[in-house]
Symmetry: C2
Subunit: 369 residues, 2 copies
């Protein structure tokens, strides 16, 4: 059993005062706001989720913040658009005849629905590899529809159902294209993971040796970064896409034009990107992390729910998008339900709500036509 050190005096996150960075950090934000999400019942706050956030422009200006915008936490799945970059830039992606659907799945935390599994299977087939070559383990599909369909067909989840199977297939492709061993591609010392670290470093502006590397839920490397650097990377990604960088444009286009593959049925990122018609690029991460970009404003945003709860990250993401007028009018019902979810008793009567606590964000969502 792994025995951890005492965390009593250890702050949240992986911040190290001595960690060198490219540049000098971001300085104070131009403005700040409160993004904490509250759960109310009977007019009082029953539970509170603390939310940290950073809003950064493509040229690296920290324009907005909530709590600690330079909090450094594990980036989890939000790194996926950059983890596929080495394969894309090297021509490896096209060498295997993969297309836009494969690219969307490589950046996905998919719902394990038949459509997702089919694309992942196709990716492996083109590599001449199989499910057993994936280093990620099986898990229950993240989408309810995926879980239901698997159960109804009597199928046990396979490694293809793992929400990261697209990312892993792309990592296998990188190994194959490099002529490197596919065994152990998930280990931090393998060239595939080292390339991912370099790509993440390049886009986030943090030196590779200043990026803590750990193990993600799916077995490959996970990176710790300040929220502001996460946000900056997404702003730079959409700016590069707009300015004609082909790999960037392909990644942004694949994700925003195939939101179902990136998430799935009833998945937040899917609902959001479908609603925003290409103007919002959005990627969820585990433990309350989310990174997204508003294309026409050239802004990248990253947030972390301190306690890791997903129910708080959805209102927080939507609250920030509302603050920057990036949500469609009228707001689709599916998004409205995520913006301020009614707490209902077992007879369906509303008794409270989950929403951003601060008036100028929470109320904005309420007043959306």
């Amino acid at each position: 059993m792994w025995i951890p050190d005492s965390f009593a005096n250890q702050p949240l996150g992986a911040n190290s005062a001595s960690a060198p960075r490219i540049g000098n950090g971001f300085g104070p934000p131009r403005q700040t706001r409160t993004l904490d999400v509250v759960v109310s019942r009977g007019g009082t706050v029953e539970s509170r989720h603390r939310v940290h956030a950073a809003v950064v422009s493509a040229d690296g200006v920290l324009v907005d913040a909530a709590r600690d915008p330079e909090l450094s936490v594990w980036w989890r799945s939000c790194a996926k658009p950059f983890q596929v970059m080495p394969l894309l830039r090297s021509g490896g992606f096209d060498a295997f005849g993969w297309g836009i659907e494969e690219l969307a799945l490589a950046c996905a935390s998919h719902g394990g629905e038949p459509e997702h599994v089919a694309v992942a299977a196709r990716m492996l087939e083109r590599l001449g590899l199989e499910e057993g070559d994936l280093a990620c383990g099986p898990h229950e599909p993240l989408a309810s529809r995926g879980a239901r369909l698997a159960r109804e067909s009597g199928q046990r989840p396979t490694r293809l159902h793992n929400n990261c199977s697209g990312k892993h297939s792309a990592m296998l492709a990188r190994a194959v294209h490099l002529g490197a061993s596919t065994a152990g591609y998930e280990r931090p010392v393998h060239v595939v993971q080292r390339d991912c670290l370099r790509a993440v470093s390049e886009w986030t502006g943090v030196a590779p040796d200043a990026i803590p590397v750990g193990m993600d839920g799916c077995g490959v490397s996970v990176f710790a970064l300040p929220l502001a650097n996460m946000a900056w990377s997404y702003a730079r990604l959409v700016q590069a896409a707009a300015e004609g960088d082909v790999p960037s444009r392909r990644v942004v286009s694949a994700m925003t034009s195939h939101p179902f593959l990136v998430g799935g049925t009833d998945r937040f990122d899917t609902i959001l990107m479908e609603a925003c018609g290409g103007n919002v690029l959005c990627k969820i991460g585990a433990e309350g992390v989310h990174t997204f970009a508003i294309v026409d404003r050239g802004l990248g945003i990253a947030l972390k729910v301190e306690d890791g709860s997903p129910r708080a990250q959805y209102p927080a993401v939507l609250g920030l998008l509302a603050a920057y007028d990036a949500l469609p009018h009228p707001l689709p019902d599916a998004l409205r339900e995520h913006a301020q979810r009614a707490v209902r008793n077992t007879r369906g009567e509303p008794v409270g709500v989950v929403r951003v606590g601060h008036a100028d964000v929470g109320d904005m969502l309420e007043r959306s036509p």
Copy 2:
């Protein structure tokens, strides 16, 4: 759509500085500790859950605290042992020929397994009432076994599967025994709910008009109380039981001798009470609330996870029990898993842990033989 007030500046909880109380509050605690629960990955804190707690003796001394021991929050299901008191004391419980299983279910947040449903059905039958008389709506059984068995038998959950159906059956019994209308028994103005408020007031030492009343998840009244008063009530309950008060002894005995009915398969309270052999009385509440008592120490304890997350309340409860040497040696595996749950990747490899962050509590659980 219910529109709430802005909660930006509203503190957590239902504290009102002007609310009168019986007595003068509890004064400063004799000692304090840190109970925050952390989720670690790669040696750093990835997420943190803030935990508030109060430890109170039967004579009302606040012996121990974490963060704000007088934080006032909705008590949720932890009030159940007192909500059944009016029915017990009045002889109504016995008038219907109910026994110890019915009493355990009346105090339960049960798992909706066949055993629970059968007792609830029996309770209604003895009243000459039926499922439709229950004011609580149906929901998916809280125990995985309950959900699975219902699904496999093709059965849609009924109101009997509602985790509060025992409590509601007891409330119906109270109405019948009083000769009051059973319709609307769930409404705050009904004598059944007013009696529950009086019982809660009596045991917690807070004047009825100082107890905020809201609507619980199951449709009946829910009460807001300071953690210290919640803790005090459980200390007084086990002391009264030990001193021979018959209704108190029946409640404590029913819950501790029938832990499966109080929770169910793999439910925390059940596992804990089974392991502690009558020395711990424990009742979970929604949104991260928990109230429990250590019988041989005459201590009552209440805690609230600020963000409402269940995953944090289990290590916090066990951490406090360990601090008061109330856990069995050796610690059963099922409890050890709740005390510090390994975070595993999808290949089952441990990559982190969820545990109380402070060494003197968290480590104590680790070193348990």
